[in-house]
């Protein structure tokens, strides 16, 4: 198995791409706005104060020099500058808010994988029956309903009409959990507070459903079609000929090769999910990095914008590598340099 070189190559490419991304972000946050110092302090700040900030931001130097200072600060000291809104270093804000987003993304991914595979298998098993059609209709609707619209409908239903699930935040106010990892459920469990852990889980359900619905049904469609394709292959007929029970054929022989396209598409789903998380976190008041990022954008908090976008690019790249590794472990053709290995 040539697993090592495959991953190494992937990592090297990502480092290059992330450096490129940092240039793009630098251009967005430092060059496009014209005068970030004036923007930060507002139009009524006296000129000498603005000049002072310009010096602090190294704006008296040339653009490549500015970029170099910004990048080395970020890489060597983890210093992404100060947020104008929270008045704290952006890195500290990121540390505080990132776990909440990761928790949300993690649960959304679990929902997507679970429902995608479950409904996909169901649709393939009952191909062209009503279950299949129903899943297809949901897939169509799922792609057409933006997560933020779904989130608004969820709020309307679960906050007012049928309040069975908590709608806002990560934890009900009666619980206090000491912060260890930042992952609410994990922290509650570490503190031995099972009730709080359950409460934190309930808070996760609505936001992650709002994010998971569209990708889950897309995944179900892809799983279905790849399973249906594989069903007509010789090895399945052979297995049937040996009299192996249908259930065993489905789960033991059919599912694993059929999951390759499902997992490959996950990369794109994650992109959509992280993007939509910016709106969903805002609506559900989820104290994550996306809500932090969107607030930074609305207040033109440039350091916070560049910091949060950079971190999200990092998380996204890492997840894509993870997806590639899973695909490679499912599909020997990829890791041996076949169809997808460049």
């Amino acid at each position: 198995m040539k697993f090592g070189p495959f991953i190494l190559r992937r990592l090297l490419l990502s480092i290059f791409v992330l450096l490129g991304l940092s240039i793009v972000i630098f251009i967005i946050a430092r060059v496009v706005p014209g005068d970030p110092a004036r923007l930060a302090l507002g139009p009524r700040a006296p000129e000498e104060v603005v000049e002072q900030l310009r010096k602090e931001l190294h704006m008296d130097k040339s653009l490549p020099e500015q970029y170099w200072i910004w990048l080395t600060n970020a890489l060597l000291h983890g210093d992404l500058g100060k947020s104008l809104v929270s008045k704290r270093p952006v890195m500290e804000d990121v540390k505080e808010y990132l776990p909440a987003t990761l928790e949300l993304v993690f649960f959304t991914a679990i929902f997507i994988i679970f429902f995608g595979i479950f409904f996909g298998t169901l649709a393939a098993r009952y191909k062209d029956r009503w279950v299949d059609s129903l899943i297809r209709i949901f897939a169509y609707i799922g792609v057409s309903v933006p997560s933020f619209v779904l989130a608004v409908f969820f709020i309307l239903i679960f906050a007012y009409a049928w309040p069975i699930l908590p709608v806002l935040g990560r934890l009900s106010p009666q619980f206090t959990v000491p912060r260890v990892t930042g992952f609410m459920i994990l922290d509650s469990l570490l503190a031995g507070n099972l009730k709080a852990a359950w409460d934190a889980f309930l808070h996760l359900i609505l936001p992650s459903f709002a994010l998971a619905l569209a990708p889950a049904f897309q995944e179900a469609r892809i799983t279905r079609s790849s399973m249906v394709d594989n069903l007509s292959k010789d090895y399945i007929s052979a297995a049937r000929g040996y009299g192996i029970p249908e259930r065993k054929i489905m789960f033991k022989f059919l599912l694993k090769p059929s999951l390759i396209p499902t997992v490959s598409v996950m990369g794109m789903d994650i992109a959509a999910m992280i993007g939509q998380a910016f709106l969903v976190e805002l609506i559900f008041n989820w104290p994550g990095l996306s809500r932090y990022g969107i607030n930074a954008m609305l207040y033109k908090d440039l350091n916070a914008i560049s910091g949060s976008v950079l971190i999200i690019g990092l998380v996204f790249t890492f997840m894509n590598i993870l997806v590639d590794i899973i695909v490679a472990s499912l599909d020997p053709r990829v890791r041996l340099g076949g169809i997808r290995g460049q």
């Binding site: 490419l13 990502s14 290059f16 791409v17 992330l18 490129g20 991304l21 240039i23 793009v24 972000i25 967005i28 946050a29 496009v32 706005p33 169509y140 609707i141 792609v143 057409s144 309903v145 933006p146 933020f148 619209v149 608004v152 409908f153 709020i155 309307l156 906050a159 007012y160 009409a161 992109a271 959509a272 992280i274 993007g275 939509q276 910016f278 709106l279 805002l282 609506i283 990022g293 969107i294 930074a296 954008m297 609305l298 033109k300 440039l302 914008i305 976008v309 999200i312 690019g313 996204f316 790249t317």
Partner: protein
């Protein structure tokens, strides 16, 4: 299932194969493969309806003046009724009229974004694919990788945020994010078509690079490009609605779908019609374009 009309016309009167005749024959074949799926026809109907409503908005809406800075406190916050089909907002503007006018911004955005990104992305993809393995390929494809290394919506939000919030700048933001998808799509096709015999034959005949790229390779990439375009309209509208939802799109008093949902969400649940109807309008438009796009895909795939 065979379309009787097209079969009869080609088989019985082959000698009449004039220009118009061939044209109509082709149209009817396209229509046949498009209309085999009833959902595509439904999508087409929705798309035509939305476009017509948007174009003729001042004539078809009951209160066209409500799509601007209009105030009528007497009729404020009315629930849906015969007079105001979808109710009115807290300053008395008719929601139905505002939704119809909001279609305009959404459609303009989709048209402008695709009209810029599709040619740009396609040409870059063609160049990178034709000059595969050279520095041109590396530069173009690595730059597109960079743009794809962060979710499109996130970078579009960031670009829109540092610019002044309006429809124009949200279009710029989405355009900047959209071209790499086409570059990647065309690149994949161009690299394989480049090695086909007809391209090599053209090269041996001394055809210019321009001719090979645009007359030999490009026509063979068109069908997937058009398919992706048709399916992308719904996506662009969705991204546009997302931008305007957070206030980075069209600014009030001009209506935009996302902006109406987020403004209305403040008045939930009493004034539910403020956000529910614009939300349903977003879903309807995107659903329509997705069905339509699927139909176009079926049509172009079956004609190949």
């Amino acid at each position: 299932m065979i379309n009787k009309n097209s079969l009869k016309s080609t088989v019985e009167k082959p000698h009449e194969a004039g220009r118009w005749y061939r044209f109509w024959d082709r149209i009817s074949r396209y229509w046949y493969s498009f209309s085999r799926n009833k959902l595509s026809v439904m999508g087409l109907a929705i798309v035509v309806l939305v476009i017509m409503l948007a174009i003729f908005a001042p004539f078809v809406t009951p209160y066209p003046e409500h799509a601007g800075p209009f105030v009528d406190y007497k009729n404020a916050s009315q629930p849906p009724s015969v007079k105001h089909w979808l109710g009115t907002d807290p300053i008395g503007r008719d929601i139905f009229s505002r939704i119809i006018f909001a279609f305009r911004g959404a459609l303009v955005m989709a048209i402008v974004v695709l009209a810029i990104t599709v040619p740009v992305g396609t040409i870059l993809g063609l160049l990178a694919g034709y000059y595969r393995g050279t520095i041109i390929d590396t530069i173009i494809m690595r730059i597109s990788d960079i743009f794809l290394s962060v979710p499109s919506l996130v970078l579009a939000l960031a670009i829109a945020a540092v610019l002044k919030p309006n429809l124009m700048n949200s279009m710029i933001a989405v355009t900047a994010m959209w071209w790499p998808w086409y570059t990647r799509l065309v690149y994949g096709m161009a690299t394989s078509i480049r090695n086909e015999y007809f391209v090599i034959a053209a090269e041996l005949n001394g055809a210019s690079r321009f001719h090979i790229i645009f007359r030999e390779i490009l026509p063979n990439c068109l069908s997937p490009i058009f398919t992706k375009m048709a399916l992308d309209v719904g996506w662009v509208i969705l991204i546009g609605a997302s931008l305007s939802f957070v206030g980075l799109g069209e600014q009030p008093p001009t209506p935009a779908l996302g902006q109406m949902v987020s403004d209305g969400a403040k008045y939930l649940p009493q004034l539910w019609w403020l956000s529910v109807f614009p939300a349903l309008a977003i879903v309807l438009v995107i659903l329509g374009f997705n069905f339509f796009g699927d139909g176009i895909r079926d049509m172009l795939e079956s004609s190949r």
